[in-house]
């Protein structure tokens, strides 16, 4: 193998930059998992075919890049260097894009993004409101880089930070820089990364490990996945710097099996980095040795907990254990271990490159930098957004997220994954950072944001998340294993209208027991959805219990479907679609639902033409009246 030191790396960089200076037109197709699902690979191939057909190979490149974040609108195609942003590009559009945009410099208007508020088409990516308000530091290069080609990363100043750290800084200086930046762990708890490194550095041992936690398991969160898939080298570079700072010679990336693309891209990236002497013995000619293994996890949610993650790497069942000793004292194989989340690692090269001062200007007093959120749920612009810490919830949801779908009312946002809490509409002005979220009874978690509209029942949501943690509990400690199960039982009872007056008190007590008694973070935070629901949506809970009504009209047992005789036009649509033949009636005559047969599948509700809207859902007293009426008629 050729000996590569840092001067050689710079030579390579200049070479690549030189070759790319010619400013070729480049069609970048988003290769993120979201766009994959929309068929981006076929689109990319079609571009290549079309370019070949038109003999444009010398003028136009096609590149499959990392995730652009705006997954709602995939497949996304951006024509660089102009930044022309086409969304929802399909195979039949490709010919047109090539012939008009690339050859004639004309915009294909129908593929542009239209701002729903102004109804204006937007040409450039950066001007799309979804991107406009974001501050992309970690994601900055995702859209430019082909993750399977290390040259793309190097061309954009990749691996510059490692040169700086290795040859201009001591390990202590690196730690001091990270500490000064105020970077806090992006995995959930938000512990200071610099201090964590320092503790591990100071631990006495001949062997130390670092781990990248990519066991992202929160439903609806996928920023780590996007990073590993789209820009694996930024994570790897962060890990090398971290290893240098801590004094580790071996690192692991623990990534779940369910992320095949991430596993693939990371593995490719590692082998490419090794070839350039960025990993292995004597990195870039220095005296520092370090290498990284990829460990594929079996996909248990609890494996994201650091002690159980290490147990999993050691080949044991992923059980968390009591801390202290913390991993920095006794971690993997009993050696001091530093474990950080994917996003945390990706922050590191930025801090080294641009300095702690620059970094600490971003964000709030105690939470620095940016944070990637995955914005999902009943929101117009689903996707990954990177914003500076401290941005108001409102801005994220309305300005970037484009508001609630179908002009419904915002009800709550659930942050921090299944063990986070639900934040109500009254708190929309809340600036988002680690501490405000914790204060609100939720948490930053890994950065999931599930937006819920008025049609969401909060009791049902709490039940859903509790059911998730109940199923994913490792089963080791009693409060988590049995406590969550009992919480689910009680919540289920309430959603079925079998709630008792004492249930809310019981929920509160039990949630507190689980929170205080559980062993690891999973159990200690699992009751958060219940507790925040009780805190912010108590009335809704009480309605379920006292009035047996579900105000959001979600809980099946508490609602009934009813066809308004005055509105029904007798079109037979609902009658034909009813799976249990509970609807009777004739053409042009009013249809009636047999309440005894009805299974509340909601098909009649959704097939009734919007112009007619004769099917209604009722709960509480109204439901009772309808049911009484129905049974009277039968008799």
């Amino acid at each position: 193998m050729e000996e590569i030191d840092f001067t050689k790396l710079e030579e390579i960089r200049t070479e690549i930059e030189k070759a790319r200076k010619e400013q070729k037109t480049c069609v970048t197709v988003c290769g993120g998992t979201g766009c994959h699902a929309y068929g981006c690979l076929k689109v990319a191939q079609a571009f290549k075919d079309e370019i070949k057909k038109q003999y444009l190979q010398d003028q136009v490149d096609v590149r499959t890049t990392g995730c652009h974040g705006f997954c709602e609108r995939g497949p996304i195609v951006v024509i660089q260097p102009y930044g022309i942003f086409y969304q929802r590009v399909h195979l039949e559009d490709i010919h047109e894009i090539i012939s008009s945009t690339i050859i004639e410099n004309k915009i294909v208007n129908r593929l542009l993004y239209v701002d729903p508020r102004t109804n204006k088409s937007i040409i450039k990516e950066k001007e799309v409101p979804f991107y406009k308000k974001q501050r992309r530091i970690i994601f900055e290069n995702n859209g430019f880089i082909d993750p399977t080609d290390i040259r793309d990363y190097i061309a954009l100043d990749g691996y510059k930070a490692i040169t700086k750290a290795l040859f201009e800084m001591t390990s202590e200086e690196v730690i001091a820089e990270i500490k000064a930046s105020g970077l806090r762990g992006r995995g959930g708890a938000g512990f200071s990364t610099g201090i964590k490194w320092e503790i591990c550095r100071q631990a006495k041992s001949d062997t130390k490990y670092i781990i990248c936690n990519a066991d992202e398991g929160d439903p609806g969160a996928y920023m780590d996945r996007s990073l590993l898939e789209g820009n694996p080298h930024s994570v790897i570079e962060g890990m090398i710097i971290g290893a240098y700072a801590i004094g580790a010679a071996e690192g692991y990336i623990y990534v779940r099996m369910e992320y095949p693309l991430a596993v693939r891209n990371v593995t490719i990236a590692l082998s490419q980095a090794r070839k350039l002497s960025l990993l292995g013995q004597s990195i870039l000619g220095s005296e520092f040795h370090f290498d990284i293994h990829v460990f594929r996890g079996a996909g248990a949610f609890v494996s994201g907990e650091e002690t159980s993650l290490m147990a999993s790497i050691e080949g044991r069942r992923a059980f968390p254990r009591q801390r202290p000793p913390f991993p920095a004292q006794e971690g993997l194989w009993g050696k001091p271990t530093n474990i950080n989340n994917v996003e945390t690692w990706a922050n590191v090269p930025q801090i080294i490159n641009r300095g702690a001062d620059w970094y600490s200007q971003i964000g709030t007093r105690k939470s620095k930098g940016t944070k990637i959120f995955s914005l999902v749920g009943k929101i117009n612009n689903t996707g990954l957004v990177e914003v500076p810490m401290g941005m108001a919830l409102k801005e994220i949801i309305y300005d970037i997220g484009g508001g609630i779908k179908n002009n419904k009312k915002f009800k709550a946002v659930q942050t921090g994954g299944p063990s986070g809490g639900c934040i109500p509409a009254e708190m929309l002005d809340l600036p988002i950072d680690f501490d405000t979220l914790t204060k609100a009874g939720s948490m930053m978690g890994s950065g999931g944001m599930i937006v819920m509209d008025e049609d969401t029942c909060m009791v049902d949501v709490a039940r859903y998340f509790l059911n998730f943690t109940q199923e994913e509990s490792c089963g080791k400690c009693v409060p988590c294993r049995i406590g969550t199960r009992q919480l689910v039982e009680i919540l289920t009872r309430i959603t079925r209208g079998q709630g008792e007056e004492t249930d809310l008190k019981r929920l509160e007590d039990l949630a507190t027991t689980v929170k205080m008694g559980s062993l690891c973070g999973l159990g200690q935070t699992a009751p958060n959805p219940v507790l925040t629901t009780l805190r912010y949506f108590r009335k809704e809970c009480e309605a379920h219990i006292q009035k047996k009504s579900c105000p959001a009209l979600v809980c099946k047992e508490l609602i009934c479907y009813y066809i308004d005789p005055e509105k029904c036009v007798g079109c037979l649509l609902c009658l034909k679609n009813c799976p249990v033949e509970a609807i009777s009636g004739e053409r042009k005559k009013v249809h009636v639902i047999d309440q005894e047969l009805c299974i509340k599948c909601s098909v009649c509700f959704s097939v009734c033409p919007p112009k007619v809207s004769a099917v209604f859902k009722y709960t509480g007293m109204k439901k009772k009246r309808i049911m009484d009426l129905a049974s009277k008629k039968k008799n």
Binding site: A300, V302, R317, F319, R321, Q322, P324, Q470, E471, E472, S473, C474, G475, K476, C477, V478, P479, R481, I482, G483, T484, R485, Q486, E489, R506, D509, L510, T513, M516, G517, S518, L519, Q524
Partner: protein, 838 residues
């Protein structure tokens, strides 16, 4: 937690156990630590200087109670919180004859249950949550105990003891969340999941989830008494549970100095069935024509005295047992030497690795130290284990070896077979059976080349030793021993690193044809590397028997083969069997006395049968593998007319008008032993009963000397006629005349004495399936057996157990004996495998 326990501060807990690492799962042992967030569990929290800990505050009480309530939702709790509990406990006895347990009154564990205790302490009166009955199938397919996971509270003790302490790792948590349950790999029965049935899981279970079948349906056990298990050379302290003179079961005793609360399948589940076995002989029997008829002691003894008079001294052969107590052995020896004046005494003890070691020592004037402490093995940094499957042969020693391995020690296994413990070994040297001495020689040679020899060269015999190694060419190692040169180098590095190694060697090493060579080469290697060398004997009192026997035979150990030769040569002999020996069906001694507790094939052919009691009915001492003197207790009176051996010999001596051999009780005998046999000076019953540690006294370590030996290769070869190499494993699954692995149903299922193990590939080649009957034929005879597929055997090798008292149709001893030096060794026989008639 530990600190709290030591200081008498009670903290409730259900998952913590003194022998296990902290788990922090039950969350009942939570405490408040000043300055620390939340409620850390005391089991997993280590004490630090200046810590302020509160173990009992209203907050903690409330939280603990809430957590216990949660535990009780998944455990039948109706009885625990029943308002009638007190009067129920008083007036109703437990109803146990039921399969499913839905409350304490139906649970066999009632009143012996940690969950009950903790509930009482925390004063749970109501469970505020609905109960969940998990409705899991009760697992009853395995021998010895049932597993009812509906009662399980998932404390994980069973899983952890199986993994951490026993190294079997049979049990594990399966599934997650509320589905979590304890299970085996792919939910297989324990018999197929690598379980050794040591019962440790049963003993640590805080509930009735794991229920020993022997006592499950019995009412409450009456009494418990501690004694020593006689079934192997460890001598575990066990508690016998008995009621109205009937022994129900046994449990390892937590105070046992050697076993510390652990046992093996025999000590845990088998021993209870021995005393009251159907085969027990309860009255003296005398042959009348074809039948054995009951007789009085008077008649039987008179008959023996009269009959023995007809034989010349040299025509009387006596066989002793290495399972007998020191007292019995001593009286036996005096009876033989003084009363009968017979020299022809033999015992299977002379086949033991200790005997081989002693022979080497006697021949070369060495004085090896034999005493050691099993618990010290856990401190070793390098361990060499050879010639025995230690979790089966010496389970308790294995536990300490495992501890050492877990502490970072290097374990090297020398064996042709892939034992289950090899996964813990840092090196496995798969030497061809019978070539171990060559392997040791190679190691000696490599080390000699590396190490400074100055210190060694002063030792006597060094130059001869060095010279003898010169003939060994490393490049031949694969050809000669089957072990790669690189592995040998690694092994020698292991020996040179760190503290001196500990060599543990078992029967297989000293029963191959190269027995003496193995011993010598091993001795030299140990001397060269300053390693300690300990023979792992099998039977409980091999050390005691040999010590006493050597005293009477002036230091010599009688060759076992010679006795066999004599036995088979002439029919005109009187044979007095008070111990096991290979007794072929063809052999017909003119007069046969069998003195045993159980009937078997040989006893059926005897002229006189004398009933002896079992270990539970008599007292005496054993000397275990460590050299520790252990005392058994008389727990129940000898059944019916059975009498201790010392009593029988004394009575015979009286009948023969010999004066001076007339003992009334064992304490008189030990008094005499104390006086006459060097080494026994400290063996006082009173000290032993007080729990004092007493070891047999050893002389000072003798001079050091390298033993000369020739490295001429000799291996047992297979031939076209006999294509398989049979590995004969000397099995310990017998007690007196009772073959445990045949007569005890549970043990038969896990290691049937009639199994013949072969690997899957060979089985397929021979078109044999597990359970097929086969016939093994060697040059000296043939036996029947049943195919058992084993994944630990290499191709071309078969394995059979040798049990001295097995029925002759099945006994592997027929393939080994009569022994002839030219043909084969005592543990390796070339055989042919034939399909048997179903």
């Amino acid at each position: 937690m530990e600190v709290a326990r030591q200081n008498g501060v009670f903290i409730p807990s259900l998952c913590d156990h003194p022998r296990l690492a902290p788990f922090s799962g039950c969350r009942l042992c939570i405490v408040e630590v000043k300055g620390r967030r939340g409620y850390p569990p005391s089991c997993g929290t280590y004490i630090q200087e200046g810590m302020e800990i509160h173990t009992d505050t209203p907050k903690l009480r409330k939280l603990r109670k809430a957590i216990l309530e949660l535990i009780l939702t998944e455990h039948p709790n109706a009885c625990l919180i029943c308002s009638e509990k007190e009067s129920c406990d008083e007036f109703k006895s437990t109803i146990r004859k039921t399969g499913e347990v839905t409350g304490c009154v139906l649970c066999f564990n009632n009143n012996d249950c940690e969950l009950q205790d903790v509930s009482k302490v925390l004063k749970v009166e109501k469970v505020h949550f609905p109960s969940v009955y998990r409705n899991l199938d009760i697992k009853k397919e395995d021998p010895f105990f049932d597993r009812n996971y509906n009662l399980c509270i998932l404390c994980g003790r069973c899983v952890r003891i199986c993994h951490e302490v026993r190294g079997a790792s049979t049990l594990s948590f399966v599934y997650r969340g509320s589905q979590t349950v304890i299970g085996t790999v792919l939910d297989k029965p324990l018999t197929e999941a690598g379980c050794q049935f040591c019962g440790a899981c049963v003993d640590v279970c805080p509930t009735g989830a794991l229920a020993e079948r022997a006592i499950k349906y019995e009412s409450l056990p009456g009494e418990k008494t501690k004694t020593i298990c006689p079934l192997c050379s460890i001598g575990c302290e066990i508690e016998l549970i008995f009621r109205e003179g009937k022994i129900l079961s046994s449990r390892p005793s937590n105070t046992g100095a050697v076993n510390k609360g652990q046992a093996c399948v025999k000590g845990r589940f088998v021993i209870g069935d021995i005393v009251h076995a159907q085969q027990r002989i309860l009255l003296p029997l005398i042959r009348k024509g074809k039948k054995l008829e009951e007789a009085s002691w008077e008649e039987a003894l008179n008959y023996i005295v009269q009959s023995l008079k007809k034989f010349k001294r040299k025509d009387i052969i006596l066989v002793a047992s290495p399972q007998a107590t020191c007292e019995d052995s001593y009286v036996f020896q005096r009876f033989a030497h003084e009363v009968l004046n017979v020299k022809n005494i033999s015992s299977t003890a002379s086949l033991s690795p200790l005997a081989a070691y002693q022979v080497l020592a006697v021949e070369n004037g060495l004085k090896p130290l034999l005493n050691f402490k099993i618990e010290d093995l856990s401190k070793a940094t390098t361990l060499f284990l050879m010639g025995t499957d230690i979790p089966v042969s010496h389970p308790i020693i294995w536990l300490e070896v495992l501890k050492a391995v877990n502490n970072g020690a290097r374990l090297v296994v020398v064996s042709p077979v892939n034992f289950s413990i090899n996964r813990y070994a840092s090196l496995w040297l798969q030497a061809k059976p019978g070539t171990e001495y060559l392997l040791f020689g190679f190691l000696s040679r490599i080390i000699l080349e590396r190490e400074q020899t100055q210190n060694l060269s002063r030792i006597e015999g060094f130059s001869a030793f060095r010279k003898s190694l010169e003939g060994l060419n490393l490049s031949q190692s694969v050809e000669l021993t089957g072990v790669e040169e690189s592995l040998l180098k690694k092994a020698s590095e292991t020996l040179l690193k760190g503290e001196p190694a500990v060599f543990l060697f078992g029967t297989e090493l000293t029963q191959s044809g190269s027995r003496n060579k193995n011993m010598a080469a091993l001795w030299n290697l140990a001397l060269q590397t300053r390693s300690q060398l300990f023979p792992l004997v099998l039977e409980n009192n091999v050390r005691g028997y040999l010590k006493i026997g050597q005293h009477f035979q002036k230091g010599k150990i009688r060759d076992f083969n010679q006795s066999l030769q004599e036995l088979s040569e002439s029919k005109k002999k009187a044979l007095y069997l008070s111990g096991p020996i290979h007794y072929p069906a063809k052999t017909q001694a003119e007069f046969l006395i069998v003195q045993d507790s159980f009937m078997n094939e040989t006893a059926n052919r005897a002229d006189v049968v004398l009933p002896t009691p079992t270990f539970a009915e008599t007292e005496g001492t054993f000397i275990n593998v460590e050299g520790r003197v252990q005392k058994t207790r008389k727990i129940i009176e000898p059944l019916e007319e059975s009498r201790p051996e010392w009593w029988i010999f004394s009575a015979l001596a009286r009948k023969m008008d010999y004066k001076g051999l007339d003992f009334k009780k064992p304490s008189e005998i030990i008094k005499e032993i104390r006086k006459t046999i060097p080494g026994f000076e400290k063996t006082w019953y009173s000290s032993l009963q007080r729990g004092k540690e007493i070891f047999i006294q050893e002389g000072r370590k003798g001079r050091e000397k390298f033993v000369p030996l020739k490295f001429s290769p000799m291996a047992v070869e297979t031939s076209k006629k006999y294509p398989f190499l049979l590995r004969v494993v000397y099995s310990l699954d017998y007690y007196k005349n009772l073959v445990l692995s045949q007569e005890i149903k549970g043990l038969r299922r896990i290691r049937n004495s009639r199994w013949i193990k072969i690997c899957l590939e060979d089985a397929e080649k021979l078109k044999l399936k597990e359970g097929n009957s086969i016939v093994l034929e060697s040059f000296s005879g043939e036996i029947k057996g049943v195919v058992k597929i084993s994944d630990s055997l290499p191709k071309g090798m078969a394995e059979a157990q040798l049990l001295w008292n097995e029925e002759s149709l099945f006994s592997a001893s027929h393939l080994v004996f009569p022994f002839s030096k030219k043909r084969h060794s005592l543990s390796l026989v070339p055989v042919k495998i034939k399909r048997g008639s179903s």
